[in-house]
Amino acid sequence: MRRATRLVGLIGALSCAAALTAALTPSHSDAAERERQSLVFTGVTVLDGLGGVDEDATVSVSDGRLRLAPVGDARTVDVDGAFLAPGFVEANGRLGYVSQEAEITRELTAWIDARDLADPTARAFREAALEGTTTVVLAPGPRNLVSGLSQAFHAWTRAGRAEPIADAPKSLHAAISRSPSIGNFPPRRGPTTSIYARRPTTRMGVVWLLRQVFLSAKGVQKATNDADLAPYRDVLDGRRPLRVDCHRLQDVNATLRLADEAGMNVVLDGAEEAYLRRDDLAKRGVPVVLGPFPDVRTGIGVDFTDTALRNATMLHEAGVTVALSAGTSGARWLREQGMFAVRYGLSRDDALAAMTSVPADLCGLTDRGRIVDGAAADVVLWSGHPLLPTSRMLMVVVDGEVVFDRTGFVRKEAQ
């Protein structure tokens, strides 16, 4: 039995190593692919991702950047009635995991980096890109208290895999919800340091442990291991955003209380009941990353939250910064989240901004998620407005490279 377990472990380690090698080894055609093709989109309706619409624009892609003027020696893309929009930015990517989504053997794993978390060749990344998502900010899952650091990825590249975006800022991810304590129980016997004796076991304990680590980082409380506190100090110094996975109103309340005590800025993830404190959130300037929508058939959301499908609309109208995410349902469904946010009251322009420039800014990717002169060339060409289900993807450009091209998809009128 024991040998079998070891063998499985060994095979797992080997396959992980193989995946890692594949991810780290540049493919032989890399050099050719780096020579980015220049493109000019003419006569397209441009949605700039910042709320603006230009119904007859020319946008060029050259050397990985966008230009709002034609460039020479470029392939011209001219499709009647097409829309050009920034690629969607999934701010709370939860896909492509090779194993567990969090290091659940400890409560605080701020040193875990999402860069190593996912299989970059996972089909979920490709699926996301096929639905117009060009950036996935991958986060470790909220299965323990502080789950680690995020990593932004190009959702799909010509090399046939997702690739980390160099120098992308990383946020620290924590959870104030049911998930970090669920399944934990006090030890019946044996040392409390055993990994089987995980704390905390209640919502109170969750908040208490988080408070302890931030007060330690602040120097208010004596720290046990100073080196581990660096990521928390980054948060306290405003160098790194703290993203908190919270669902119920009580979690939102606890998060805001903790933010006040430690004097730090937070971003709320999930936040199904955030609409109940929308005025406070607006006043404090606390942004939220919403989604996915709860199951409308049952009306019961994560952590038994009360469904309010107009959550995004109510928050936006109150002045809260809102980003949309497909979260656990997979980045493939981000476009659908946007469509249904429109159904539930957001304007199309606001919904698109909430999937492009807003999440990009929240993740420190300030040159992505928008079509402006000089921005990174992450754009998607659609047959109609990207937030209509009748539209189809025609071309996906990631970092200046054409990743998918369906402009040749000829409409065939049938009898």
Binding site: R123, R126, E127, L130, E273, Y275, L276, P292, F293, P294, D295, V296, R297, G299, D306, T307, A308, L309, R310, N311, M314, S329, G330, W333, E336, M339, F340, V342, R343, Y344, G345, R348, S383, L387, L388, P389, T390, S391, R392, F409, V410, R411, K412, E413, A414, Q415
Partner: protein, 415 residues
Amino acid sequence: MSARRFGMVALAGLVGAVVAPSAAHAEDFVLQAGTVVTADGDVLVDGGSVFVSGGVVKEIKPGLVNPWGAEVRSHGDAWLLPGMVEAHSQGGLERANETAPNTPFVSVLDGLDPLSPYFENLLRDGVTTVFVVPGDATLIGGQGLVLKPIGRTAEEMIVRRGAGLKIALSPRSGTSRMAQLAELRRSLRGARTAEGRQVVDDPDATARSPRAEALTALLAGTLPAVMACNEPVDVANALRVMEEFGLSGFLSLGTAARRALPEIAKRGVPCVLAADLEPVESNPETGREVRRFLAKECVDAGVPLVIQANEASPYGMRSLWYQAAVAVSQGLTREQALRGVTVNPARLLGVDERVGSITAGKDANLVVWTGDPLDPASWVDHVYIEGELVYERAKDRKLKRLLDGISLGRPGDDD
């Protein structure tokens, strides 16, 4: 429009907006809308007037006119469409399959929950006819019913009894395809023998044996077979068995069975497409993944398009209108896509003389949409079934609650 006149009774307080139909038909009236799509070939963009009498559509005229002198119900800029027809569903059933593999004698009549939220959600999505049938996990799963999604008993809801007997061609786990087919043939042969014996020996034997009753009706062609086919080979087998035993009916396809569409076209057997209209197929040898566009393949093959809702997608959002929009994104015309959720499924289910289009002589199953039904920003405002107003969005308290969530007032304020 007084509430009393239409006998509006809230269904056990579940939905204020869903009202039970009164026994007597409403009097004559004229329904007017800015855009009328009959699904029978006509799209009246400059307004249309539909004269309803005795629960039946009597006449349709372009323009906002009333030569009939009846009460006018005007819906301004709204769109008027026939109620959509869901061709294949397990909605309203607690369990879709018996654990025993061969149960031709069971009927969804005995397992149907008329108060299931499934039915009221159909009204919210503009569906007025649904075929509820057992699932695919058995060999012969039982009998389905064509229903309207309104009523307190299954009997009240019935549009067509004996609408189909579910037969699954794909083997259950632990059995082979050969064994599945052998068992199916054995059952049918047994029924054929019983049928013969009935005449010779004991005329009352079949009447006393519900098992034989269903199979006898199947063999006589009065009960259609609903052949569930996951793989192309299942389609071939289904067509062979139908020919051997002289069965009529239609196929319900899994995603992989799309490869048999040319064969299905050749044989002229109707079919319902798989719920996932854009499955990803992976080549087992190369690992190459290709997304398939089923609605387009279906129309290209010359098979009449019949779409079902995709209950399996995250968050239950993929209702018929959404699926029709997806079909348009694949390159179909709007007319083709709309026929795929109205007249075509009505014909497949053998109820096209009553439902599926706004046509003189058919049931007045009419749905008023706030705008284009293929745009997620549009909502179903009013639903008429057989001339009765059965749903009004303005009175849909449950929808309001889902949209707005809870309010933090005093206890009881929220009711």
